[in-house]
């Protein structure tokens, strides 16, 4: 049900075995197309975890080319993992300006949503309704799907 994709591994395989940064449109496009193929190959997956753990810098162009375009076009729910403050700085405004939202999993497993407030509220409702996430007593969210 949950599919995991290591973005650094995709970057190294598709673009460069040297660089760890997600920068430029062509790089973003190549990485996104690879991710799209992986998602398409698993019809059972409802959630795709995109792991940024070993990724260095993410620029706005790549944030749009990868995250915003995947959010627009994929059937699965995307969950970003391994996001640091720098990644967040690129991804949040891009997703928000597109009127979209994306789920981010923190190091403690808590879920956060980046993006437009309306889309974020809808996304959290959707996660709970599909029993992919549950509310904690403190009002937070965590992933329940395996």
């Amino acid at each position: 049900m949950i599919q995991r994709i290591d973005v650094h591994e995709v970057l190294q395989r598709r673009v460069s075995g040297v660089y760890a940064d997600l920068v430029t449109r062509p790089t973003g496009r190549a990485v996104r197309e690879d991710i799209e193929r992986t998602i398409a190959a698993d019809a059972q997956a409802r959630v795709t975890v995109i792991d940024f753990t070993r990724v260095g810098c993410v620029d706005y162009s790549c944030a749009d080319e990868i995250v915003a375009k995947l959010l627009r076009d994929t059937r699965v729910i995307l969950l970003l993992r391994g996001i640091n403050d720098g990644h967040r700085e690129a991804i949040e405004p891009v997703v928000r300006s597109a009127g979209l939202a994306v789920v981010v999993e923190g190091p403690d497993g808590a879920l956060d949503v980046l993006g437009s407030p309306d889309a974020a509220a809808h996304l959290l409702d959707q996660l709970v309704a599909q029993q992919l996430a549950a509310r904690t007593p403190g009002g937070g969210f965590f992933l329940t799907a395996a």
């Binding site: 460069s16 660089y19 760890a20 940064d21 920068v23 810098c57 620029d59 162009s61 749009d64 700085e89």
Partner: protein, 300 residues
């Protein structure tokens, strides 16, 4: 006949228009002599702008333009350390003795003059700047260490404008220095220049009708920097300059872009520049200047 184009003794974004004015007087096919013998100082903007002029002169045809190197040994040494002559040797017939350069480890040149022709070059620039810039941004400028990644993002987007829009290659240089004359503080400066098609040409197919009679270099710069428009119809485009603006607003930085006959700037309180200047001497392509000042020190 050879036409003389004098390189200002202090060559930066302020004196660039004087340089562009001399450059604009040259006719197609006329050989140009860029005279930098009296140069006393050049900012990264001056150096990459001079390379863009050499690129544009080569495109006009005729003999390779001439360049007289600075006679001042310190100036010559700095231009060499900044990587200027490595790039200039392909564009100009250089007159003057060029010194051998030392490695950059102890220098405030964070990124020597580096060609940007393709996405691969942007990867290399971003990778190199992260290795060198974090200590200087944190220690000399007092930026949060986390700001290094934002700096790399801004640099990446500035370079990508060349790859995506110029239709030709360009150059980038990054330096940290104490800006005694204008600010009295340490700054980090990113300079990016090309002699490509420029913002007006790039945006004309999608934006000129919207602006009507107002359409020109100034309107094109306004559309790109203020309104975040792009020549691509893809709704996610135009994020780069908007992202640079957000980063600079957080760190009290400045951006100015000169293209064609206009220059637009986001002007912080510490600077006395004007937001828009039109009717400048024409110069091809685009020249971008980003300045991030030291944080938390007294205003000049």
């Amino acid at each position: 006949m050879t036409r003389l184009v004098e390189v200002p003794t202090s060559f930066d974004d302020r004196s660039f228009d004087q340089f562009a004015g001399a450059f604009a007087q040259a006719a197609d096919g006329e050989r140009l002599l860029f005279d930098a013998h009296a140069a006393e100082w050049a900012s990264p903007y001056g150096l990459v702008g001079l390379l863009a002029a050499g690129q544009a002169a080569a495109r006009r045809g005729g003999d390779k333009p001439l360049l007289t190197a600075p006679t001042n040994g310190d100036v010559l040494g700095y231009w060499a350390r900044a990587g200027f002559f490595r790039e200039a040797s392909e564009l100009f017939e250089i007159h003057g003795k060029i010194p051998r350069t030392k490695p950059l480890e102890e220098s405030d040149v964070l990124l020597d003059v580096t060609p940007v022709r393709a996405a691969e070059d942007v990867h290399q620039v971003v990778s190199r700047i992260q290795e060198r810039a974090s200590a200087i941004l944190a220690v000399k400028l007092g930026l949060d260490p986390k700001a290094t990644m934002g700096f790399a993002m801004a640099l990446s987007e500035a370079c990508q404008n060349i790859v995506e829009h110029a239709g030709t290659g360009g150059w980038v240089a990054v330096q940290s220095y104490h800006w005694r004359r204008r600010l009295g503080r340490q700054v980090v400066v990113i300079a990016v220049a090309d002699a490509g098609v420029g913002f007006r040409h790039s945006l004309e197919p999608t934006q000129s009708k919207r602006f009507g009679d107002r359409w020109g270099d100034g309107a094109a710069l306004e559309a790109a920097l203020i309104q975040g428009t792009s020549r691509f119809r893809d709704p996610g485009r135009g994020q780069g300059l908007a992202g640079i603006r957000r980063y600079l607003s957080r760190w009290d930085g400045k951006i100015s872009i000169r293209s064609g006959t206009a220059r637009i700037a986001i002007v912080p309180k510490w600077d006395d520049d004007v937001p828009m200047r039109e009717g400048l001497p024409p110069f091809p392509g685009a020249q971008v200047l980003i300045i991030i000042p030291e944080q938390g020190s007294a205003t000049p």
